[in-house]
Amino acid sequence: MTINSQLETILFVAGKPLSLKKIVKVLQVEEVTTQNALANLCLKYNNQESGIIIIQNNDEWQMLANPDNHEAAENFLKAEVSGELTRPQLETLTVVSYCGPITRPELEQIRGVNCSLILRNLMIRGLVKEADDPSGLLPKYEVTMEYLRHLGVNNLNELPDYDKLHNHEHISITLAQTNKLAS
């Protein structure tokens, strides 16, 4: 069987987000081959009429139902009670969405307030997690698949004004400043 087909099976069987590293390990092929297969699968599934889609969150991938069919899916499953986001939660999630993976000092530089409690609260809710980043001394935070899944976007770069806010001219300077202070 082709790599594409095996990848499709694994994402289907997993039922949860899988890291690229994990997929490479299971398929036992080169990373670049896996990345190509993932790109092919996205092309195959991520079109308007598909009932199944592939979502990417930075380094993770998951096969999910098309959010446009959420009503049909809800007829089946008990709809989840996820509740509203408070303003501090929303603000923090927004910055982490556009600038993640991001350290706490960087986040606090942008928001101007201490963020330890709000980060903890979002991590317990499963909307933010520590990114897998063995290089850094400070932990970096990123949003979870759970969050993306709820927004109904396939990829962070589909968020409104992503390019502008992701590569914001002041961010890099501000963050460089934070890092200088920290070092």
């Binding site: 096969m63 929303l90 603000e91 927004t94 556009y98 928001r111 927004l151 109904g152 002041h170 501000t174």
Partner: protein, 229 residues
């Protein structure tokens, strides 16, 4: 100024944004320096109800006072690249606030991508993970317990009611007219708190700008002598 309620803002940057909007100003260094006093006025209100946030507000208050002094006496601050200004920081914050409103719309649509309900996986044979023996559990538990050690509460910072810059200018001006000369140290000797010192300093800068006073200082951090002009 009193139209902004304490519970209506998230942090110092949010307060700044609201003050700017209230005054219908653009975000520039000049307009920020204009609302310094209004901002400082919120500090003592914070102390009663949201003291845990005081540190964050003091950071921004310092930047504002710096801006204010720079606007009053620009010749003391040679042009140099100082990195992103408070105005830049605030503009950036504003953009994320706007973005967060769009994110909230996405979130509230409940257009959720659902996952599969997986059939239960049966684990046929039990394998003890190599790193989950009693010694591993003990080590991991000890690490966790030390991580959970409750943090010492922040030292309580007290900020008492701030005297307005305007009142302070008058008071310094009156003293100066009487004595012709005075030491800044004496001026702030009766200050009850840091805000008071900041306000005195700002008042002094205003007097200098208006050519009512000048200052002699022998060395950096040395005593400042204030003279009547």
């Amino acid at each position: 100024m009193n139209e902004i309620k304490l519970e209506k803002f998230q942090g110092p940057l949010d307060l700044l944004l609201q003050l700017i909007e209230l005054e219908k100003l653009n975000i520039t260094e000049v307009s920020l320096s204009q609302i310094t006093e209004q901002f400082l006025n919120f500090l003592d209100k914070l102390e009663n109800d949201r003291s845990e946030e005081l540190a964050d507000f003091l950071v921004i208050a310092t930047k504002l006072v710096y801006l204010k002094s720079k606007t009053l006496l620009p010749y003391l601050y040679p042009e140099e690249d100082e990195g992103p200004s408070l105005a830049d920081q605030l503009k950036m914050y504003q953009q994320y606030i706007l973005a967060s409103k769009k994110i909230n719309i996405l979130w509230s649509q409940n257009r959720i991508a659902y996952g599969r309900i997986e059939p239960p996986v049966k684990n046929t044979e039990f394998v003890l993970p190599l790193n989950a023996r009693t010694g591993d559990l003990l080590k991991s538990m000890e690490k966790l317990v030390s991580r959970l050690r409750p943090l010492n509460p922040l030292p309580k910072i007290t900020i008492d009611r701030a005297v307005s810059v305007k009142q302070k200018i008058e008071s310094i001006w009156n003293t100066l007219k009487q004595h012709k000369k005075l030491n800044f140290t004496d001026l702030i000797a009766e200050s009850e708190n840091k805000t008071d010192v900041i306000v005195s300093f700002l008042a002094l800068l205003e007097l200098m700008r208006d050519h009512k006073a000048f200052i002699n200082q022998d060395s950096a951090f040395g005593n400042m002598e204030v003279h009547l002009i």
